[in-house]
Amino acid sequence: MADRLRPCSGPGKRLPDAQAMFKQLQILERLAMNQIIREIEAPLLKDNLPKLNIGDTVKVFVKIKEGGKERTQGYEGVVIKRHGSGVSSTVTVRRVFQGIGIERVFLLHSPRVEKITVQRRGDVRRSKLYYLRERTGKATRIKEKIGHKKDAPVQAAPAQQAPPTEKKDAAES
């Protein structure tokens, strides 16, 4: 489309592409606009959040209101998804309770989320752990991340630990 609109020029001869320049300007303007939004979000962002990775086991402390009283409730599970950016970023935490999988989405920067603590660092190779939904019991285990890759001792190779088996549970089949 852009090629057709470009003015006719000889082979190998390129005129300054007005359309491309215009697009650049539009991008610049959009960035300037984003600056305003970033300024509005800045005071709302929490600076004490721990670094959360996919596969981590976390405990989220949420403020809940019950009959006029406010108390904090903990919710522990595995981070299976991160979503959004800035003030609207969320994590989805999955846990299996009484045989039923529960997934709760938390707005990370919400004042209702009081505190998040990381219980265990998980070592996974996907950014979305949707495959956990199809598994139960032992198959839902996640390897623990041991230090940084370069600091990790040679003999403690992650392969020594049993990786999550591919076998599906009886409940699934």
């Binding site: 984003n34 609207s88 919400s110």
Partner: protein
């Protein structure tokens, strides 16, 4: 009723006192300088012409520029008239006070130009139904009948047909003002507004019983 001119910056969220998230559209308000007063004697009606944003002189045509030069005003765009009954509070060259027009917690109507969707069929444009896509059906997304035979012997006017969609003036009514930062010229309203980021918006107080 007098209103304000602004540009849509984009959307984000803020938190209310209970800690619940509120989706907001951020609007950058323009300079909103009174550029002209339309009077009963000269124009036959009363209105205030307001200039939105300061632009380069070459962005305006000569009649517009001439009218502004006469009043020793900078080049401004867009120039929009607001019908008002009483002109006494407005002076040419003075900026409108946003805090006098919109108040936090009040409801406003926001007008803008919607995102163009191009030439669209009746399914997207008017939420018409579609035929089966498989099982031997040959009627997928096209229009059905557009009228009967002998009676009435014509196609009714205003029948929903494919055509250009979007790129039209849309007003969203009764949006709550979440925050007004007159210093920075920023207005936060709850919910979405028409058009693209950077598009022009006209903000007017709503005419409702809920407004103070």
């Amino acid at each position: 009723m007098i209103g304000l001119l602004g540009k849509k910056v984009g959307m984000t969220m803020v938190f209310d006192q209970e800690g619940l998230s509120v989706p907001v559209t951020v609007i950058q308000l323009g300079k909103n300088i009174v550029t002209q007063k339309m009077t009963k004697e000269t124009n036959g009606y009363t209105a205030v012409q307001v200039g939105g944003f300061q632009v380069k002189e070459k962005r305006l045509n000569k009649p517009e520029m001439g009218a502004l030069k006469k009043r020793e005003l900078p080049a401004m765009k867009p120039l929009k008239e607001f019908r008002v009954d009483d002109l006494s509070g407005y002076n040419v060259g003075e900026a409108l006070k946003p805090e006098a027009i919109v108040v936090e917690g009040a409801l406003v109507d926001v007008q803008g130009r919607s995102i163009g969707k191009g030439f669209q069929g009746t399914i997207k444009r008017y939420n018409a139904g579609r035929g089966p896509m498989s099982h031997g059906s040959k009627f997928h997304r096209s229009m059905g009948s557009i009228g009967a035979g002998t009676t009435p012997g014509r196609t009714f006017k205003g029948l929903h047909m494919p055509g250009d969609m979007g790129n039209e003036t849309v007003t969203v009514r009764h949006l709550k003002v979440v925050r007004l930062d007159a210093e920075k010229g920023l207005l936060l309203v709850r919910g979405g507004t028409p058009g693209v980021d950077g598009g022009l918006l006209v903000i007017k107080p709503s005419k409702t019983k809920w407004n103070p």
